[in-house]
């Protein structure tokens, strides 16, 4: 892992929840969303300024819908921004995302508790 990647992200995204050692996450999915964003940026899918715009847009939109912007839902907005920028860049489509999400939920329900969930 290149620390400078995170430093760039932190520079562009001052609100990123972090402590002295780097970003902090409250759930595994938050770390996954974060890692996907770094990986996509690294391969040039979008620039940090594009990402910053997408994220601010998602946060502002949630604010208009009544989200208090306490940081509580930071990664929820982050994921919304990531889904959108991925669609905008033609990497995925919204309908594929919806369909795939349903498939995961079905897969989870048929997977016995304690076993890895596969599609």
């Amino acid at each position: 892992m290149k620390p400078e990647l995170f430093d760039q992200a932190a520079l562009t995204l001052p609100a990123l929840p972090r402590d002295a050692g780097g970003p902090v996450f409250r759930a595994p999915w938050e770390a996954q969303a974060f890692a996907m964003t770094l990986a996509l940026h690294e391969r040039g899918a979008f620039s940090w300024s594009e990402w910053g715009e997408a994220l601010s847009e998602a946060i502002a939109e949630a604010g208009r819908a009544g989200d208090a912007d306490t940081g509580e839902h930071y990664y929820r907005h982050w994921l919304t921004a990531l889904e959108r920028i991925a669609a905008r860049k033609g990497l995925v489509t919204e309908s594929l995302l919806r369909q795939r999400r349903d498939e995961w939920e079905v897969a989870a329900r048929r997977t016995p508790h304690g076993q890895p969930i596969h599609l």
Partner: protein, 224 residues
């Protein structure tokens, strides 16, 4: 999002044979978990991200789910006998009394390590992993080989993590059910008499709370 309804015609109950409680049927994913998996699986399929690279990124931060609430629970139990008794009697209540609650009111059980018994928890695979207390699950923990080895050869798994149990210590392996999540209460390290809760908490690692590690020793004390 409920584990309550049994799955009719569910043919995936092979693990019953190992004596684990599988009566609750399937797994569940939170809405956010399902969304992340959807995006990730599509990006991986199309070759836009490499799953191995993602794992490396996540591994870098896996100990960074903060704050480590579980460490504070353990440290308090080490210094406060009443709290310890409450934790062992009703961990859900004791943990909630410190302000740490899970999302679905899951039932927590604390497993006490003693000079005679070492506990190890194996299931961290779905949303039942109590990350609000334990932090992000380690990547290695999700792998099927690890999981089956933990059941078949738990001593071998512990050795891989450099945990050597003294002769005669009984190793108990616990597999979370849909409704019960476990927190291992490790033994307080020697030489920590008079330490503050905060100093003690700095010795409590995630792995020591799932039983694949021991707390750090007293000489790694953080000077606060």
């Amino acid at each position: 999002m409920s584990h309550d309804s049994p799955h009719e015609g569910d043919l995936h109950d092979h693990d019953q044979a190992r004596g684990h409680d599988r009566s609750q049927g399937g797994s569940e994913l939170s809405e956010m978990d399902a969304r992340v998996r959807a995006l990730e699986s599509l990006l991986v399929e199309k070759g836009y991200v490499d799953p191995a690279a993602l794992d490396i990124l996540i591994e870098t931060y896996e100990t960074k789910v903060g704050p480590h609430n579980g460490a504070r629970v353990v440290a308090k139990a080490w210094v406060d006998a009443d709290f310890r008794a409450r934790l062992l009697h009703d961990a859900t209540e004791a943990i909630a009394s410190l302000g740490y609650t899970g999302r679905q009111g899951e039932h927590m059980v604390a497993l006490e390590n003693t000079a005679r018994v070492h506990n190890m928890v194996v299931c961290t695979l779905c949303s039942c992993y109590p990350w609000s207390v334990l932090g992000l699950p380690p990547i290695w923990y999700k792998s099927a080989p690890y999981r089956s080895r933990a059941v078949i050869d738990p001593h071998g798994v512990l050795r891989d993590f450099d945990v050597m149990l003294a002769d005669g210590v009984e190793l108990r392996v616990w597999d979370s059910t849909a409704e019960i999540r476990y927190l291992v209460l490790p033994m307080r390290p020697a030489g920590t008499e008079g330490w503050s809760e905060e100093e003690l908490a700095s010795l409590v690692t995630r792995d020591s709370m799932i039983g694949t590690g021991l707390p750090k020793s007293a000489d790694t004390r953080h000077v606060a």
